[in-house]
Symmetry: C2
Subunit: 234 residues, 2 copies
Amino acid sequence: MPGKLFLIPNLIAPDAWQTLSPQVLQILPGITYFLAEDLKNARRFLSALKIMGPIENLQFELFDKNTDKKTIHTLLEPLKAGYDVGVLSDSGCPGVADPGALAVAYAHQINAEVIPLVGPSSILLALMASGLNGQCFAFQGYLPIENEKRAKAIKEFEKESAKRKQTQLFIETPYRNTTTFAELVKHLQSSTKLTVAYTITSASQFIKTKPVSEWRKTSLAFEKEPCVFLFLSE
Amino acid sequence: MPGKLFLIPNLIAPDAWQTLSPQVLQILPGITYFLAEDLKNARRFLSALKIMGPIENLQFELFDKNTDKKTIHTLLEPLKAGYDVGVLSDSGCPGVADPGALAVAYAHQINAEVIPLVGPSSILLALMASGLNGQCFAFQGYLPIENEKRAKAIKEFEKESAKRKQTQLFIETPYRNTTTFAELVKHLQSSTKLTVAYTITSASQFIKTKPVSEWRKTSLAFEKEPCVFLFLSE
């Protein structure tokens, strides 16, 4: 019998411990084997929780966006051998805009139980707090970096939003926030509703929805934090 | 100054209290005004938490999928007047496959702070545990009920999944689970990966991903629980 694969969310703002569910704290002390997006961060996170026993008794394997599909069965040998394994994200929920899917797919193949634990997801929280359509939405990852391609993508996603009443969600890396915001405001229709959400779950959390026409009058001082952008054509 | 609008998740399985974040328990005792999807359930939920003081001191307004947009400003008068208001879901997260968006949109209009709290979402948990693509996904709500339209929708969403490597997510009401599963298995390609997820966060949680060819050999005894279906064309 294989072990269980636990998917373990991590904080999305420093010290926002109150966003981790008790479920995570219950399950973690029973796990010895971890796949982690960043080994140093994983050890720091588990140490800070003060529930794990000696950290040198735990076994970590690196598992990030560069992990080759072919190595998964080696990384997950303990799972196959009957041990529980935790997939530990660096920020947010494993498998959602984050590595995780490869490990989960392998667990399903060997018929291991997969148990997702409750924790913060910037995408889900931004959608909840946007006031945009939560009955129909699409997460598109990152916009293209190249100017012409990005402009084209923004316009196409806006058309689709209008056609299906579908909220469009994107993420952006901090150093491109300002550019992406400027491009969205430039290329979207005035009446389209745009949400800007960053530092979610922190004390300085910023989540605002306005028509593009109003954003055009607003200057935005972005924090150095990953940002979620959402829009809905109305 | 308006108050704050708190978005309060609710359990998605009976007695799964360990899935509610401490954040929810911290914030709730400070709230007197609630918009609730079901008044009886809301009172029962808050009473069970044993953190609220006398329940008769709290004020509840019904806010569900039938709530008229025109009445929102009346329902949220306390928010405008400076009081914090909680939007309380019956199950899962307000605003995601759930009422909430109208209240949030109004809060943004009057410049009230909107604060989404962390809790269980069957859609997010199912996506995490599916092993399907979490870098690009679309939530489509319910499939059409009428046979011909449903078959057409399944095939169209599968084409889109193939074209964009986009995971497609749907929810279904318990009494249509068996039909919807049969139709998915019938109309999807053999190699498409299909996830069936129900009673998430309960002890009897079921989350499995298999190619459609394998599902065709499987009989599935559905619980009387809402189900999330996901697929990815490969």
